[in-house]
Subunit: 425 residues, 4 copies
């Protein structure tokens, strides 16, 4: 049952109002399941069925999970579904069997919001038209509300089962922390996929433009480093302490100074740091929430190994203990030309798409690369598609928004490409 | 009306249960005023009458003040007194006119608690005997509850007015942030004081010991430095940001590396730092809550000037703006031998005091030094007295406690010394 | 008068034996002038005639220049020529007027050696065959001996004047310090050049291969930063000093930490540092000999500006004075396709060349870019050619050597290309 | 045979003209031996007889030793003595047996010069009167020429053997590098000493003043740290290097930032650093010549241990190897009151001494502390005496000089004190 324009816009706005950050997509998952049921999908998997729970990264503390789960309950999400998601096992997958044998197709959309305030001004459409975030401190500032809508739209387009093979549409949690895709990959649920698409909206491309194969994914590794020293009175016993802030500052200085690499792009950031308690106490603890990236997985690993050495020695230099948690990680990935060809042609044939770009660089990271590589390792092929949309603010800013006119052409491009990939198998 | 032992213990425990951090001593001040009224002091000044409001340092945000003011109201503090303290103008002063002309005497006690949890174990007397802090996250962990009791006890001892001259007992707010004494000094309320005592309990000296003149006050200057840069995406636009965490880390490294000084003790600490938002965003802001100290005021100023230069250049190096707020400051100070002599003799004559030490070093900072210097600049003399007490945990730790047996001898030593200073004027 | 194979090898070995570092190419220049006279070139310019003396960078101290000048005299270089080169005004230019009017052609070769020891082992051909460097501590480790030979060979090929226009062959000094080309460019001597080639041997390309247009020149800026503080006794008066080594170390840490740039390649190195005198003296001086690079001139300028800010603030943070001298600088540059086309064809037609590569990246810096840009700014066109040669050791290593079989095909490729550029003008 | 004033002045000037730095005191030692022979001392030990050769610290390379040995030969020093000093085994000891049994007395003077230029101006007496240093680059800038004269003067005063016991006068090498006293102590040559004096001239005390017991010796430990990484081309292969200058800079930043200690004075200095070769090469080596000090030996050890941890982790952080050589070390030491009493009285009884100070602080380091502690550990007693002298420039500066009028009273004070220590044993 294909979804019409009004329905798509309505769904997108409903999700926009209820952004939930990584691993807290309780209401979101339950709402997706509702809609999949409404469309008539027989086989709907959720959280624990599509995740290797141990492979999840950056899962929040229980208190935080409980807060969001309670909020989802209050908002009226289906209690049975919520029970299945407990402990931060979010996300869903729709599996549709076609009417005849054929390949297994995969589409991945991501569903999490960001932990940031949304703009309130009249020139911000969601505020002006009354669908601004109701979850204070959270926002769909990267278009994942549109991604969910793409996913539901494609499910709707295949609901008649008039295609050869099987379609799996993954509604993936926790992309923003680069923490969800690895858990899905490790679950093996996509191991039988022969043709795979992932999709993102916007990325600086306008409404009416499609990029058939996004390139230049930076491999990324995120970490949280904790330095544990010992407190002491800064005036009376300065040498009795073990100064965790000194360790942290030494690490920050040297992290940014990791040598550039002749092999390509490298990145490093100590994006969130802190330490100590009061000005007159030698700081006993400190932390760095940081990341490294590389133009290839190998370059990321070069940075990660060097960063680990910096962290360890900065801690030891100041007699502090160190613990480093890997909070997110994604490799780089490449598109298969054969899939890009099909997407390029499908986009060209879609009404509302007037510009088809074969390749454009991302220059950032995406954990869909885990899934692309998994599929490719099992013999499948894959591409990462961008559906352009006019967006007034940049991604991750308070004024980000998507042009809803891009929803329908985006869905049609994806559906057409998937159908042709099935037919041409 | 002298206070008996039971009353003193009861008062001390009542104050222990209601610790309020700097500039938030609403309930505490109101309760002191109650007790002064009960004792029969005619002239009781509060907050705005004893403070130069502009000279207060480290005053919290309005929200924080309001929270504590509301709590004080709920606890039943006198509403009229509370109204007079609004906006964080806490503290009180009892002024008692003697029956005949004579010098003006001053005694200063401080009244604020610390922002830390109190221990809960059975071996912690306040927990075992039911007077542990009822204000979660706050604790009288430095004995200011005993100091208040000293102050009230001395007022009681002089309540009969049988002495020449005038006694001013200052219940000073915000000592722990080194932020209250300057405001009192600037108010001029102590400018007519001829003989001045300040007092502290414990400091490693046992019950039964008195130090007549505590020495080696470290001059201190506390600051909050804010670095403002610009955010950017760490993967996509790393050079578009202006990295406030890099500025902060550079400052931390170089603050600790300020050269030691041949002239004596120096100290520096970046005790509380933070910055940035997320691992993938170039940090746009960062801060350091820090302090410098010196064995003399000049040494502190050497450190302060050098620290300022470090902060400024660390910010500019990374293209960040800097703002530095002086959040607390206290000079060093010296005791007058003539006053120390009197205290020494008074302590020797006090029952319960079996060890009188003329001088012992503090090795820390105290903003009473502002008041001592102010008095001395106006021609008066001063000393800083320590009343020993067995304390199981160190100052500022969760298990700090005072031995209540030290309350009465402490009050008697102070009262005797003040009376002799009046008589001998 | 074309030079035969034996002559070319003999010349190359003669130059190999007498390497002279930047601005010290006294014997080398005089020997080139001798040979140009022998070939019969009428118009030979030297040093001061082809240089803007003020625009020279990284010129050594007078003592050093005098030492090398004296050595050149002792070796029997022509005294009249040497007199014209005094003060480090080295280099030469042959100007040959063709028999009929036509365009002005330019070829640039560089002539300086490197300050490093040459290998002595039997597997190092120059050692085994007796033409190892006679100037201890100096070596032709980057093939400029071959470049000189290329230049003389091309002059020989045009000595008959049977071509339209004018040929200028520049024997440029001081390439290794990125310090000579700017001075030639500023002299204006190449401003009338219509078609320009520069050439390098080797670069990892084997004998028999030619790269028609070398790309990816890193723009570079080299600097020497001097930090001036004040000495003091480290035990007795540590705060009386102004510590230049602290300033230097702060700068080093922050130079390497200059943010990576989304626009492309950046590089930074503090390659040579020092400071202080004795372990018990606060260091009063320190220096950094460093460099920054960029994939484009703009990226280099981004790094240079940021480095300047780091240096200034590191100095000021530690109360030191700073002076920064720009010791070398070269922009990036692009080849003109029209010239690359001609070189590509000429190489293909040359006996001994069996592999013609249109473009290959340099990944380093070259001050020929100054000359290419100068020519291009005046309306001319240019390309940078690489003549492959089997080289056993890497460039700048002790075992670097060139395969003399590459000399003749290299000269023929260059001469053919220049002649066709003249004919086709 | 007591030396008269002219002789003393003449000797002092002769030594002033021939300063030799640590372990290079070849001419100096030979000249001392000459003079001891002339005075008539029977038992004169030299270098290897008074040193544990393995315990020497900061011995220069052989080349450097050979240069100074050759210079001593050329200057006419006794060849037989020089032969005994080969390899940097310098210094001498005069042993005089008294005419009757008694205690063993010890006096230590040090004999080395400093590696610095001497002033040339007319207001610098040695320049004006023609006895400025003839060894360019070396200078007696700390008064050890006067110390040698003290030693010879005392020997002269005891040459008649009219005293009970034995006198050992040690002419110690290599004090300036804190490297000689440990080797003498380890030799055991002073183990039988019952009463020991060491002496220094000047230290800010004027002619006519004596300090009976100098206090506040800073314990010191000097080191040379070498960082070994790997070179690489900074433009082409920046990540292939292992950057020793980054390691060094990280160490410097963190050395100065070692926390101040509540127990007293601490010091740290990276007084002499360097690294790398050229601006375009990733630096493969770097070094720090540094030191730490403490008001007590324990405080020095706190600093030394912390410094070692900084060095190790800075190296490892940047993947470099580290080697640390201990190049000098001296403990703190205390005077024995009984010896100070005797010196105080002796000075008071000496003509020309008009001010006797019991104690004054050094605020620096001195390796005589090794000898004092050695004597004290064996049951003897000791004091460190200062003989005041007007000195126009500070110690270790180019204009340092001593007032020769202080020579004779200094010798008399020392001789009187030693004689009384013998008599009163």
């Amino acid at each position: 049952m294909a979804l019409d324009t009004d329905r798509l816009v309505s769904l997108r706005r409903e999700f926009h109002e209820r952004p939930e950050p990584a691993w807290r997509e309780f209401w979101t998952t339950a709402r997706i399941v509702d809609e999949l049921d409404r469309i008539g999908v027989d086989d709907v998997l959720v959280g624990p069925e599509i995740l290797d729970a141990q492979a999840r990264m950056a899962v929040p503390e229980d208190d935080e999970l409980d807060t969001w789960l309670a909020r989802a309950r209050e908002t009226g999400a289906d209690p049975d579904t919520l029970d299945r998601l407990a402990g931060g096992h979010t996300g869903a997958m729709a599996v549709i069997e076609g009417s005849e044998p054929g390949p297994t197709l995969g589409l991945r959309v991501d569903i999490d919001g960001l932990p940031r305030e949304e703009a309130t001004g009249e020139d911000h459409v969601p505020a002006a038209e009354g669908f601004r975030s109701r979850n204070e401190g959270a926002m769909h500032a990267c278009g994942h509300d549109a991604h969910i809508t793409f996913g539901l739209g494609v499910v709707g387009a295949f609901a008649d089962r008039e295609f050869p093979g099987t379609l799996k549409v993954l509604f993936q949690p926790a992309e923003e922390v680069v923490g969800g895709a690895a858990a899905v990959a490790e679950s093996g649920r996509l191991d039988d996929v022969d043709r795979f698409l992932a999709v993102h909206v916007g990325l600086g491309h306008p409404t009416g433009e499609v990029v058939a194969g996004v390139t230049d994914f930076l491999a990324v590794s995120q970490f949280r480093a904790e330095f544990a020293g010992a407190a002491s009175h800064a005036g009376g016993l300065p040498a009795r302490g073990r100064n965790a802030v000194q360790a942290m500052a030494t690490a920050v200085q040297n992290l940014y100074a990791i040598p550039r690499h002749e092999g390509g792009i490298t990145r490093v950031n100590a994006g969130n740091v802190g330490g100590g308690t009061a000005s007159n106490i030698i700081p006993e603890s400190a932390y760095i929430g940081g990341e490294v990236r590389g133009g290839t997985t190998e370059l990321m690993e070069y940075m990660r190994d060097h960063a680990d050495r910096v962290l360890e020695n900065a801690a030891e230099m100041h007699d502090c203990e160190l613990s480093v948690e890997r909070t997110g990680e994604a490799p780089s990935a490449d598109n298969d030309d054969s899939v890009v060809d099909v997407v390029e042609a499908a986009a060209s044939d879609t009404e509302g798409i007037d510009s088809v770009v074969r390749h454009a660089p991302l220059g950032g990271s995406e954990d869909a690369t885990y899934l692309m590589r998994r599929v490719q390792e099992q013999g499948g092929t894959a591409a990462f598609v961008c559906v352009g949309t006019d967006h007034p603010g940049g991604h991750h800013t308070a004024t980000f928004d998507v042009d809803e006119a891009s929803l329908e052409p985006g869905i049609e491009t994806l559906a057409t490409a998937l159908r042709r990939l099935a037919d041409g198998f």
